[in-house]
Every structure is written in structure tokens, then in C-alpha cells.
Amino acid sequence: MLKRTSLLKRLFILCCGKGRHQLLRTSLFCIFLSLLAGTILLLLLDKNPLEAYTSILQGAGILPKGRYAGRKSQLTDFMSLLNYTTPMVFAALSVAVALKCGIFNICVSGIMVFSGFMATVFVGYSNLDPILAKVLVVLIGALSGALVGILIGYLKHRFNMNEVVVAIMLNYIISYVVSFFIQTRFIDPITRQSVAVGQNARLTLFDHPVGNLKMEIALVFPLALLAVFAIKFMLDRTRFGFELKAVGSNSKASKYAGIHVGKAVVFTMLISGSLAGLAGVSYYLGSNASIQPRVLPSLGFDAIAVALLGNTTTIGSFFASLLVMVFDCGTTYMSSRMQVLREIAALIISILLLFSAIGIFFRNLADRYQQEAEAV
């Protein structure tokens, strides 16, 4: 049936054509393309791409390095990868849930700053018992994120305001107001950031001795995994999840079908906001310990594209976050070993996201080739 089409086209149809796991295959194809682009880039810089990719994997703890510093091993590298991945998983989930309901949540960065700041102020500088403090940090993070989320959802539903515009405005308002409070009250004159939070409130244990190793343990990583499955369950198996997706695919039709569109929008933003809030606390009180004034974390914007790479599914977002963070974490090791600039990681990641943004084009093209091939 496919006899007359060229080999290249057939391969392409195999990658992106109709059939089982079409979305997954397209994503893998996009990853392959961006690795190819990265290879060309590295060759242009006169570096060995194979060695570069291996050292990225080694730096991220996926492959063993040649030798390790004292009390470090592949496991410690991997644990540190998990530590940095945790906020990204929350952030990507937050974007994915909102997208399922047809809302584009670009406010993740702002919410992260807000929740991180709230948790820092209320718990970070206190002398509470470590366990109580950590639980409080998580609760405050989720709650303050949810508040901003509800605000966006309400403004969108009640006043018909474009959520993208509201989110952009909120991002900057939050960033500047938080920066004002940090610079007037909580500034550390040496680092020019907010005063570091106490160890009792941090969601990551640093240099925690396990056996003869010292590793970073992200205490909220299990919570992130739990969130992945809880959101998946909610979307696939509950009535609210169905309503949410219905509003996302056609809000008018769902309104005539008797679904409260406004309620669905506000609740979705509540969930999305609280996930972003969790991302904030696991970023500012986990992998970092202080807030840099006037800076919106780029992680919140990267999460949009990561969720997209994961086809806005929960499980997909999880693996996409892991992949992107492997690049992010592994590059430090690669750049020190091969004298390549650290910025190349961000470049390869954005090329990857560029390709995944046009995944729909690849799928349509493959469908067309397939039809042509079958017509012959």
C-alpha cells in the first residue's frame, strides 16, 4: 500500500502518522529533531556532540561519572535532579490543568513569587518545630496560590477579561510589590536577596547524611508525584473533571448542556493556582532559600512549554519536566568539562519547545502523506 512513497516519507508517517500513541510519537520525534539541532550547534562550535550529551546525562545522575568528589555518587546527583524537578512538575501541572479548561495560565511565575514570599514571611523566619513548619509552608503555599488563581478565574468569568492580560498585569504587580517589601524589610545586604529562610522551614534537606553519602532530599517530591496521579484521576474519572474538559473544548455547548461554566473556570483556576503556589514554595523554600527581588522565575514560563511538550497530559507533563531538567542540571557539568557556554542548555530547550509547538503541523503533514500514499 505504501509502496510508491519514498523511504523518508514512510519514516515520517511512522513517527507522526495516525495510530496508537500518535501524540507521544510526535513528541519523541520533536525531541529527536531538537537533539539533532543541538548536535549541529555543537559541531559548529567544534565540540563532540556525543561526548556533550553523555556528560549532560552524567551531570544529571542518569549515567555514572568517571570519578566523584568525596561523599558524592551518582545517587546524589540524581537526588539533586529530583530536587530541581519538583517545582517544575508542579508548575507544568498547573499550566496543563488550566489548558484543559481552555485557560492560558501565564501567571505561574507571579503566583510562585507570591506564594514563596507569603510562606517565607509567615513561616520562614519563625522558630517553629520543623515538621509543623514544613506542613505550614506547604499549606500557605497552596492557599496563597489558590487565592491568586481564584482572582484570575473570577475576573475572567465575571468581567469577561482576557486572562492572559490579567495574568501579565498580576505578574508584574506581584513582582514589584514583593520586591518593595523585600527591599524595605527583608533584604540581606550581602546577597542583595531576601534573608535566607531557616532550615526548619525548608522543604529540601541539604547535605543530609545517608549511609556514607551526603545528599539533597526533596521532601515534597512524593507530593508532586501524588499530585500527578490525583489530577489524572480528577480529569479522567470524576464529574468535575469531565465538566472542566467540556468547558475547555466548547464553553457554549457546555453551557447549553447545563454545566456552570463560571464555576468550572473558577475551580480550575483554584486548582491551577494552588499547584503554582506549591511550585513557588518548593522553589523558593526548597531548591533555593531566598527570593531575588524584581525577578520573575523563568521556570514559570518554561512550564508552559513543558506542559505543551507533554501534550498537556499529567503523566506527559511529568516526564517532560524531567527531560527539561535533565538538560538544565546536566549542563553545568558539561560546560565545565567541555568549555561550552552554559547558555547552550537554554537554547536547546527552547529549540525543543519550538518544535513541540508545531507538533500539530507534523501530525497534519503525516496524515496528508498517509492519504497520498494510500491514494496511489
Partner: protein, 319 residues
């Protein structure tokens, strides 16, 4: 008072030209969240061209300064080409394409600036140093009380921006080309029925928006820091988006919005200085334009009319 007007205008006008870029793109029906990335890449390209040319060029340095504005427009247009391809040819989601372009722009400029500085100029830096942009005062007009400040001590790029802006406004509202662009945003099928080429009009509109953003970005680079550095990504592109949404996708009201943003900013800074507050209060001042936009949108969002076909992929078969 004079400082408020002088500083305010030197901020408002670059913002205005970026917002016009946004109006062109969105007016033709392509959502453009990429303004931030476009202005940064334009400024990068302009800064790079200045750094390269100033090494071999021996003539009057002001010529180079004006040339770098042109290069910035080319740079912005180059990145906009990518956005146009993604949105029109590859039918990607326009919002997502915009976000990705912003990320790409930040990553690309950081990488290239470091790499070029290291391998060609032999210095580890992510900046390109620029000259101070020439300033002028118009003799007679500047003596008018209060309003005279408009003509006092302004950067000459402000004049260029005003001329370009007037031309773009004329093009959009008084010529058949402008009619086509606006038709593309409101009812692309009508344009197609009248024999126009929707894809082509949209393509050139997005390119124009890139060129204008590049120009604005370069002006920001000159007026704010006289360097190109990654600090150019301070959210001015998003502020420009706020400005034209505020101005309901029309050039006239958008101008007022930009003036409001600029004066709120410079006025706030002057106020902070006058009241002898610590400089950190400047952060609160910076929130003013955003809060004003949010509150005003609250009341006027029903009167706000975006182009009707905004963000839709043009599909010939759909009616």
C-alpha cells in the same frame, strides 16, 4: 515638571512604537505575545552591529548610531519571520508560539552575546557597549511654558519614532493596504473573496511588527542603559501589549495609554525623589501602569473590541 515630561516621553515613545507593532500583528489577526522577545532580539542585533561596525568604521559615530537603529529593525523582523512561519505556515497555537519565541529570544541572545564576545572580541561579557544617543533642543518651541519641555533635551530617536508612527498610522487607516490588514483581522474570508491574499497580508504584518519592536527595543537599550545586556528583558513588551489592549487596538488611544504609562512612571520617580523616600519605593511606582490597566479594564472590558478573527488560524474551507 520638565523632568516628568522629558523622561516620560523618552519612555512612552519607544513603548508606543512597539505597541504599534502589536497593533499591526494583532490587527491582521495574529496574536503577538512575542513583542518582548522581538524587542530584545532587535536590540541585540542593533547592539551587535554597532559593536562590529565601530571596530572598522572611522567616520562620524552618530552615523553608526542611526545605522544601528536600522539593524535593530532588521533583527526584530528576522525573529518575527519565525513567528510568522510558526503561526501562518505551521499553524501553531499563536499564544504558545509567542511564549516560545520569547524564551528562544532570551536564550539565543544570551548564548550569542556570550559566544561572540568570547570568540571574536576576546572578552568574557554578555554586553555590547553603545554610545550615548544624541540629544537636541528645538530653539523657539522649547521656550513655550510647560509644553516647551516636549521640545527640550529630547533624544533624536524620539523624532524618528514620531515620523515612523505617523507613517504607520497613515498606512493602516488611509490606504488600501491598511484596509486589507484590518480586514484580515476582522473578516479574513471577506478579504479572500475580494481577491486579497490573507496569508501574505498577515505575513507582512507580523514582519512589520517585528521591525517596529526592534526599533523600540533599540531605543530602550540606548535610553535606559546605553548597553545591550540581558536586562533589556524587563517586561516592556508586555507593557506594550497592555497599552494597545487598553487602547482597544487603535493607534490613537494607544498613544494616550503609552503617554499615561510613561508619565505615571516618571511622575512617580520624581515624587519619590521629592518626598525623599528611599529608592526602593520606586518599585511601588513601577506597579502603577499595571494597576491602572487592570482597574480600567475592569470597567471597560465590555467596550474593548479585539479584532474579531484574532488568534484564529485562517482556514479557507471554513465559513
Amino acid at each position: 515638571m520638565n523632568t516628568i515630561i522629558i523622561e516620560g516621553l523618552s519612555f512612552s515613545l519607544p513603548l508606543f512604537i512597539i505597541a504599534i507593532g502589536g497593533i499591526y500583528s494583532e490587527g491582521s489577526g495574529i496574536t503577538n505575545l512575542a513583542l518582548e522577545g522581538l524587542l530584545g532580539f532587535g536590540a541585540f542585533f542593533g547592539g551587535l552591529s554597532y559593536a562590529v561596525l565601530s571596530r572598522s568604521f572611522t567616520g562620524d559615530p552618530t552615523t553608526l548610531i542611526y545605522a544601528s537603529l536600522g539593524f535593530a529593525m532588521i533583527g526584530g523582523a528576522l525573529l518575527a519571520l519565525l513567528h510568522a512561519l510558526m503561526c501562518i505556515k505551521f499553524k501553531a497555537n499563536q499564544v504558545i508560539s509567542g511564549v516560545v519565541i520569547n524564551m528562544l529570544s532570551v536564550a539565543l541572545t544570551a548564548f550569542l552575546a556570550n559566544q561572540i564576545n568570547a570568540s571574536f572580541f576576546g572578552q568574557p561579557s554578555n554586553k555590547f557597549l553603545l554610545e550615548v544617543f544624541p540629544k537636541t533642543t528645538i530653539p523657539l518651541l522649547s521656550n513655550i511654558p510647560i509644553l516647551g519641555a516636549v521640545f527640550t533635551d529630547f533624544y533624536t530617536f524620539e523624532l524618528i519614532i514620531v515620523i515612523v508612527a505617523l507613517f504607520m498610522a497613515y498606512l493602516l487607516y488611509k490606504t488600501p493596504t491598511g484596509m486589507h490588514i484590518r480586514a484580515c483581522g476582522d473578516n479574513p474570508h471577506a478579504l479572500a473573496a475580494a481577491g486579497g491574499n490573507v496569508q501574505k497580508v498577515r505575513f507582512w504584518s507580523v514582519i512589520a511588527s517585528g521591525a517596529l519592536s526592534g526599533l523600540g527595543g533599540m531605543c530602550f537599550a540606548y535610553s535606559i542603559s546605553t548597553t545591550f545586556s540581558p536586562n533589556i528583558y524587563m517586561g516592556f513588551g508586555y507593557l506594550a501589549i497592555a497599552a494597545y489592549i487598553f487602547g482597544s487596538w487603535k493607534i490613537g488611544p494607544t498613544f494616550l495609554a503609552c503617554i499615561l504609562f510613561g508619565f505615571a512612571r516618571s511622575g512617580g520617580y520624581v515624587l519619590v525623589q521629592k518626598l525623599k523616600l528611599p529608592s526602593s519605593y520606586g518599585d511601588l511606582v513601577l506597579t502603577l501602569p499595571y494597576i491602572v490597566t487592570l482597574v480600567l479594564l475592569l470597567f471597560f472590558s465590555s467596550a474593548n473590541k479585539p479584532p474579531r478573527a484574532l488568534g484564529e488560524v485562517y482556514d479557507q474551507a471554513k465559513r
